[in-house]
Amino acid sequence: MNQLIQAATHGDILKLTAPECILVVTALVALAVSFAFNGRMEALRLSRTLSWLSILGLGLASGVLLFNQPAGDVLGGLFYTNDACRMVKLGIAALGAASIWLHMGNQRPFPHQGEFHALLLLAMVGMFLLVGADHLLMIFVALELTALSLYILTGFEKSKPVATQTALKYFLIGGVSAAFVLYGFSLIYGMTGYLSLSDIQVALTGKPTDPLLAMGLVMSLIGFGFKIAAAPFHMWAPDVYQVAPTPVASLIASASKVAGFFVLGRFLWGGFGGFEGSIHGWHWSAGWMVVLGLLACLSMIIGNLAALKQSNIRRLLAYSAVAHSGYALLGILSPSSSGPASAAFYMITYGVSIIGVFGLLHVLSQNGQASDWRALEGLRHRSPWLAACFMLLVLSMAGIPPLIGFLGKFNLFISALKTSGNPLGLILLVALALGASAVSLYYYLGMLKAAFCKDATQTGTIEANGYQISLIITTALITILLGVFPGTLLARFMEAFAS
């Protein structure tokens, strides 16, 4: 299982990229099935069949990842796999499967289900490739594959009045950021002569910082900032979270961000390990740490403050997601291997809780309520079980022990604080993050207050089908069970990233 393959033949390449290949084939099969049965099968049944098919594909891919995946790389680092990649890909596959599960709760599926599932799967392929990329070309292509699929998916419900407009906004902002990434990559290539990250690392050791190289680095960081929705590149997030179909919004909020964080860590530490600069004491030296620290700082402040005044819950979640990106950037900033490990762990567990909350919002909007604060009012009377799950999920996002959100944050902050020499900049950032979490309690608890203390404006129990209930209950159970018994999973994460 752990033999190292330097892929030379097509067989080797196929072995290393088996999960991605399975997903691509599943996407094509989904298209073929919808083409063959469209009109001959009832829409709901067709949609469910396609969802089961996609989940099956994701399951197969996860099985390969779990049991039969060798480590190695293809064509000198164009694509690589190791334990850390596998863990993160498993997380992404789980989050993607949960998003599709969420889609299965849809009683009235919108048209073009085949394309919808194929695009979801292709977006997941893009994320998988992003996780396995060790090469600027591959990073760019994978980023675009993910993004292009997500643009279409965002505007998929064309009957919604603002769907296309939101997709276009997402597309334009994303396109500009892609151009920035590409220009940055071209400068990096020009200054080093290499596109592969490990070659760049070698070429750069012991060289002084070139201004053009620094520019290239900053321009690429702008693009990555867009991907992980870090302030000030988060402008697309609130609209997309609000308007995109719920499964798509939850995929963008969870899996796509996990992949973004992983590749950001890989890009910075694997390619520019000597260029981090420092944020020690008051004498900061130039490097990407300063830029990233600034992004983290802005994300935490802007995300939390903007979330305070939102009336739409989905927009509120988007701004709070910006703040969460800010916390997770602390993990990328800490030089030990436990930093990126805890960032990835944090984003995956955060993804679990946000998918649960999206599931609940979807149930509420199916019951005829817009997703503003009033939708939550009296949830306790209308459905005690859903209200209890909602409480667990929201408290986990707020970081209350013993839930998983607390543990994830705790790990992030500890890994930032354990950095040798205790750089003052990092300590200040952790202090800011603690303050920001306290601010975030205001709106998280506000949501709970609406659900538990206010009387219902609407009466009657909440209708939800088995798919939705099982998703919400499972995510809530995961937040509490992982929070109480995190041991093995967390340890495996740390171990995988350490090697």
């Binding site: 600027l136 070309l137 760019f140 292509v141 675009e144 292009l148 643009y151 279409i152 505007g155 064309k158 009045p161 603002v162 296309t164 407009q165 939101t166 997709a167 276009l168 906004k169 597309f171 334009l172 396109g175 500009v176 892609a178 151009a179 920035f180 590409l182 220009y183 990559f185 071209s186 400068l187 290539y189 020009g190 002569g193 290499y194 596109l195 402008m235 609130p238 609209d239």
Partner: protein, 100 residues
């Protein structure tokens, strides 16, 4: 003698022009043209770096970028057409139903 610097200056100019187009113009199609200009500026930089550092990687990357840009055209124009069908406009000034 035209050297690397001249190519880079042209590509930086193209990139800035594209960026200005995206920020200043009010028609979605023109904005989109600005976006393409930015991508092609990066392509020019990649090719000239490839030529002057005597490596082939940059040129290979440009092929991929051109392909990706073509895919982006497909998605972008499809979105613009879908929007036009719904709202009969391609001016961003008319699209105000999304607040910040």
């Amino acid at each position: 003698m035209i050297g690397l610097e001249q190519y880079l200056i042209v590509s930086a100019l193209l990139f800035s022009l594209g960026m200005m187009g995206v920020i200043l113009r009010r028609n979605l199609i023109v904005i989109y043209m600005g976006l393409e200009l930015m991508l092609n500026a990066a392509n020019l930089a990649l090719v000239s770096f490839s030529r002057f550092t005597d490596t082939i990687d940059g040129q290979v990357m440009v092929f991929f970028v051109i392909t990706v840009a073509a895919a982006e055209v497909a998605v972008g124009l499809a979105l613009i057409v879908a929007l036009y069908r719904k709202r009969q406009t391609t001016e961003v000034g008319d699209l105000t139903s999304l607040k910040l």
